[in-house]
Symmetry: C2
Subunit: 314 residues, 2 copies
């Protein structure tokens, strides 16, 4: 990651709320990231949104003491689950316990700052779209493949949100099975996420694997079960990407998250599988994410800066 990926703009504070930890950082006017912190996400059932935002306010106050020269003019907050970015609502998050939580309005109240609120994968996707591997395109898909698998789609230069329901490519059907945690069957996430790869190998071999990387290493060492699990994941991912290509025809598909770090072991068979699936379709570039593990924070900072920009223009 370049030292100042954001470049110059307003100082802002950013929060990337996860199921386990919440990451936060202060971004200075020159784009420098300061005070990067990871704090356990306060889980409090239906009160989780208030608890998360109280934590954000506390961290913002701490930044004010630690970096008195950097006064944030807005906050960017991103969360997982179903998120209505446009209305600032956390619609639903199974692990975090909220439903229809008015994050943006509550955030404005508790932080005393304008708040940009959005979906975590769309936030990370926006960092790739504006500053990273999809920069310069109008139509792009960013897939984040880790424990789960989700996408952020950009259409005609803008994020596609559809009330929070767009981008659920992880829950598209690519096979007859297995069962997915959402209650569906044969979903991409249940075959091709890093979590699924480790789980499926463990189920078939009876040997736990410490993650998708370990499964890949076993495959490369000649373990046929590991190779089969890996191949099925790559084939499913190619099918999912082919669906995206036929429907929205992106110029580029960016793969981020832990699985993308497999490099050629992922990208080469994936391109070969797409060779067998595409005919006249517009073939997008398939590339690795560039922004790195803080893409979510940087996306949240971008959105917070947009807010300052908009207020200036309005």
């Amino acid at each position: 990651m370049p030292p100042h990926p954001l470049g110059p703009g307003a100082a802002v504070v950013a929060f990337d709320v996860g199921g386990t930890d919440t990451k936060s950082a202060l971004f200075a006017g020159d784009g420098t990231m300061l005070g990067l912190t990871r704090t356990p996400t306060p889980l409090a059932g239906a009160e989780t949104p208030s608890a998360v935002l109280a934590l954000a306010a506390e961290i913002t106050a701490r930044y004010a003491r630690e970096f008195p020269a950097v006064a944030p003019r807005a906050a960017g907050i991103i969360v997982p689950g179903l998120v209505d970015d446009e209305n600032g609502i956390g619609v639903f998050a199974a692990n975090l316990g909220w439903r229809d939580a008015p994050f943006r309005d509550l955030g404005v109240e508790l932080l005393g700052l304008p708040v940009a609120f959005g979906h975590d994968v769309r936030g990370a996707g926006e960092a790739e779209f504006r500053l990273g591997a999809a920069r310069g395109t109008q139509d792009a898909a960013v897939l984040v493949i880790g424990t789960g698998l989700a996408g952020a789609f950009f259409v005609d230069g803008r994020p596609h949100i559809a009330g929070g329901y767009a981008g659920e490519i992880g829950h598209s059907i690519v096979a007859d099975g297995p069962d997915c945690s959402c209650g569906g069957r044969g979903h991409l996430e249940a075959i091709a996420s890093a979590g699924a790869i480790a789980r499926r190998y463990a189920e078939r071999s009876g040997t736990p694997a410490e993650g998708a990387r370990a499964v890949l290493q076993r495959a490369q060492a000649g373990d046929p079960l590991a190779q089969a699990v890996w191949d099925e994941a790559v084939h499913a991912l190619a099918l999912g990407i082919a669906q995206v290509i036929t429907i929205i025809a992106p110029e580029v598909v960016v793969l981020g998250g832990g699985l993308a770090q497999a490099g050629p072991a992922l990208f080469e068979p994936l391109e070969a599988a797409l060779d067998g699936m595409l005919t006249f379709h517009r073939r997008p570039r398939i590339v690795a994410a560039q922004i790195g593990e803080n893409a979510g924070l940087i996306g949240a900072a971008l959105r917070a800066r947009d807010l300052v920009q908009t207020e200036h223009t309005a």
Copy 2:
């Protein structure tokens, strides 16, 4: 279809160029459709675009004689194949023999009118989106299911084009086979188009069917082969629609073309199949097209009117 679906606006002339016939009509200022004509499309290899536009100019001159009180201020022309609406280019049409044909510029020259040029399915889709079954939505999918199967997608209130490559849902993979005319395998069009339904029944039964409607009638009369072909088409269509739902999450999916006229025999099992596929996804309404068989012409007229509007505003 209501008598004046377009409503008041500029008088325009519209052409819907098909592989066999070209339909044309003159639309008066009050939206009335005049002089609806069907003419064989002049096929002349690489010269087809010039021949088609010369025909359009001839028909426009005839309208001037027949309807002297209605002076069109722009022309709308839609064609099949891969079409770059934004740049006015017919990128590729296998049946019609052109590649990178500058339809819009050539049309302006031959017709002496501003020309709006676009894709036939997106044209018909736009009529449904602005005047028909998808009216009032921001995110919509219109699938036209006839000899082939193609889609027009509307995202955040605007048609999604992607250089002409968006909407090729007919060539999305939904099964392991059969072969598709495009060279791919298991594509939706090869299973669920009206053409595929008739062809697959004939192949399996050894008895020609006069179309998808005839296959449905045989199924309803108890023919198990016809029922299987129909059921497979419905299942494939549900899978394709589920893909669209997970990726772009439309509020409504409009089904047009000949197959949609099957009514409840299509829509009821389709909804049931979707019941088994969707979990937390946003469930769109699945509805029949409303504009009817002239949706393409009406869409072309809408685009021609947009052009007059734009010239006024500019």
